[in-house]
Amino acid sequence: MRSLWAIGLALLLGSAQASLTDVTLDNGMRVIVKEDRRAPVMVSQVWYRAGSMDEFNGTTGVAHVLEHMMFKGTQTVPPGEFSKRIAAAGGRENAFTSRDYTAYFQQMQKDRLELAMQLEADRMANLVISDELFAKEIQVVMEERRLRTDDQPQSVLYERLMATAYQAHPYRRPIIGWMDDLSSMTAQDARDWYARWYAPNNATLVVAGDVKADEVVALARKYFGVLPKRALPERKTQAEPPQLGEKRIVVKAPAQLPYLLMAWHAPKLKDWAQDIEPYALQILAGVLSGNDSARLQKTLVKTQQIAVNASAGYDPVARGPAMFMIDATPAAGKSVAALERAIRAEIARIQREGISDAELARVKAQVIAADVYQQDSLFYQAMQLGDYVIAGLPPEALAGRVDKLRAVTASEVQAVAQKWLQDERVNVAELDPQPLNAPARRAAVPGVRHAN
């Protein structure tokens, strides 16, 4: 119930309340402030519209590598000093890279926003990437890849499925980058990336918390507003050509249990006020796995007992194309093939018979409640705003989404299941577990352990 559905649920959360300020500075930097006075704290996030989808072959992973280097010093702030100053002020900080963006954040007491802005503005313009520190940090990133991908069979499966499902679109590349690209990456690659994308007119500042919007905007003008606007490279669409038939891979990796991942290309949210399908697909994901006895759990895990876990997920908020996904682990003695047939049968049942009013009402009740619950997390509210803005959606899309989801009908859910979850659009990946005690594979070609 946790995994894939969490994506859907996360996106079902949109808050209509609390005042929002949304301004663009003269240099093109966007500033969004959400006032929330529940606690004397704030979160400040700088989002750059540059993620792994903006990379080129040969230097995959550079967006994330640059994220690491952003903590390695500027012309006036020595390496490590950024983190040290934030920590000394009681702050928590981190950064994250996705396919669509790179974002940096600080969570602190409300009166310490100025320090965060001062440091962020400095590294937006004055980063220093030394060969020496790069050489160490690239090793750290390769360890990160080993930890989070190479030694996690389900992660390897996901990575290889993306590389298969997308043939042209850059979503085919892993965020962390291919190991060989990391091995041959240079400090100059990181410098080039920084020079290309780190400019105020490619950034959005999101501040949420016990702050005054006019004061935040004034501080933003003072620190970010003075940085010069720069010409950004032209972004080309790189649309994925239509899929012409089912695609299927097998990944052999040391593991105890098989694992199945299915993905269908699906529409993303473009015109939030007019679109119907992205909302209907979110409801569909909820019907399939939004609670412990939603369709996948009830049929596959509880009744047929053909799976020990199964979930569905769909994220319509993205710069690139969207996907609808289902993952499942077969029960002991059950084959992946049988599990896949059972999943297809569940989809076919919705395509044929639709969903019940009770199921529709249940998912909507969860949407409405989740909209309240998400207000308990300041950080999450800021995250959502950044996520929407990066995807090119206005904050109103976030505010209006609960109403849009409530308007979805059962027949719309059936229609999107028919239209998008078709056999000729499916991409299937199977983890074929190999013995854990086999002779060690060798690291001459690190990370390669699949066959597809």
Binding site: E143, Q152, A440
Partner: protein, 440 residues
């Protein structure tokens, strides 16, 4: 799982293992006992129209009877899979119908159930009805027991592919020997396969009793309503006496366990039996560990292992405060060929810290971060609820919040040095390395 691919974080944040709390930002905790002996902790907050409830019992895996490793976990997992004559599906649907979220949490000490619901009357009452059934009348249906045993065994098998999981299990075994903390939280597949419905019912009756219960509530209700809810939740529980104390763990002899695994990295864990949640030197150890390996990029381990040498993405240390002494654990993951080098750097960093303690400047930095960051620890209902549960479960003083910042500030270099020297004997470290070959 795909979801983890949404982001690639710069570093793995330290787990919030010690749940410190503190002063100035007054969280007004109300505390009482129900007539059945359940202890209640409540904070009223009317800002959001929602209510969080947690009910915890000393029913973690340390309570597994001999030969029945996995019984506690299975019992906990079965609570909401059929109760009061309602099927697992009815329970799940009724909760979802009102937008309520029922979750479980489970570790070696504690088995708990949490409920998040809207505070509007209809939704809240329906959600609390289900919570009461799940806590008071789990049915443990025969067919569901069989199914969930298979699922639990499958999850244990699946984790065997993860070198980090393998290392963690081996670490607890090496550290705790015959103590109940040695056993894995999820249990032993062979023992699970033998468990019966009767085992679950007996375990449930003995552990999920009112005198064992800690009820925490946070949110949009009055004191009177909180009293009524607590009374109702406790009323249907058994009257079984409080569980006996766990045995005191002995300090482990030094050992070095190497386990082969087809991974590209070695997972290295080093540690000793550390401190209990109510240890008198909790604060010197907690604050001192910020400097050693708990303070992210402020910590020596991160600096030595990651920043200076690029050996690992994550290098950390922590004390896990538990009912009895939990582990002190230092960990890192590194590619196979540099395992011994990275291990040596970590050991040297630890030894030097024990010998010398933190510098004055390091300690000031640690205290600045911890005290300055205090408001972030209580900035949501969820976080406050978790703190209520910890205060209740571990019998921490009610003024714990009010004294926390002062107690952090009171820690000095000498106190840290003495506490670390007392707790960690560098000659008696337990080491576990999981990775291909396992050669030294």
């Amino acid at each position: 799982m795909p979801i983890k691919y949404v982001f690639v974080l710069r570093f793995l944040g330290m787990l919030l293992l010690s749940l410190p709390l503190s002063a100035q930002a007054a969280v007004a905790i109300q505390h009482w006992q129900t007539t059945h002996g359940a202890r209640v902790y409540f904070v009223e907050s009317r800002e959001l129209p929602m209510l969080d409830v947690a009910v915890d019992f000393p029913a973690g895996s340390a309570r597994d009877p001999a030969g029945k490793s996995g019984l506690a976990q299975l019992t906990h997992g079965l609570l909401d899979q059929g109760a009061g004559g309602l099927s697992d599906t009815t329970i799940a649907h009724r909760l979802a119908d009102v937008g309520a979220v029922l979750s479980g949490r489970f570790d070696r000490d504690r088995a708990g159930v949490t409920l998040r619901t809207l505070s509007s009357a209809t939704e809240k009452n329906k959600a609390l009805d289900i919570l009461a059934q799940v806590l008071q009348r789990p049915d443990f249906p025969q067919a569901v027991v069989k199914r969930e045993k298979q699922r639990l065994i499958a999850s244990i098998r699946e984790a065997e592919a993860d070198p980090g999981e393998v290392a963690s299990k081996a670490f607890y075994r090496a550290l705790y020997g015959t103590h109940p903390y040695a056993r894995d939280e999820a249990g032993d597949p062979a023992a699970i396969a033998r468990l019966t419905r009767g085992d679950l019912q007996a375990f449930y009756r003995m552990h999920y009793s009112a005198p064992n219960a800690v009820i925490s509530m946070m949110g949009d209700i009055t004191r009177a309503e909180a009293e009524a809810i607590a009374q109702r939740l406790a009323a249907g529980l058994s009257h079984a006496a409080p569980v006996p104390a766990l045995p005191k763990p002995a300090q482990a002899a030094t050992s070095d366990t190497r386990i082969a695994h087809p991974s590209t990295q070695s997972h290295v864990l080093v540690g000793v039996v550390g401190m209990a949640r109510n240890a008198p030197d909790f604060f010197p150890l907690f604050v001192g560990n910020y400097v050693l390996g708990g303070g992210g990029f402020d910590s020596r381990l991160m600096r030595e292992v990651r920043d200076k040498r690029g050996y690992a993405y994550s290098a950390y240390s922590y004390f896990m405060p538990m009912t009895e002494a939990g582990p002190f654990q230092l960990g890192l993951q590194t590619k196979l060929e540099q395992t011994d080098d990275a291990l040596k750097v970590a050991q040297d960093t630890l030894r030097q810290f024990i010998a010398e303690g933190p510098s004055e400047a390091e300690l000031i930095q640690a205290k600045s971060n911890l005290t300055g960051g205090f408001p972030l620890r209580i900035d949501s209902n969820k976080k406050i609820l978790d703190y209520l549960s910890v205060i209740g479960f571990y019998n921490l003083p009610l003024d714990y919040l009010d004294t926390w910042v002062d107690r952090v500030n009171a820690v000095d270099v000498a106190a840290v040095r003495q506490a670390f020297a007392r707790r960690i004997d560098p000659a008696r470290l337990v080491t576990v390395v999981v990775g291909a070959g396992s050669a030294r």
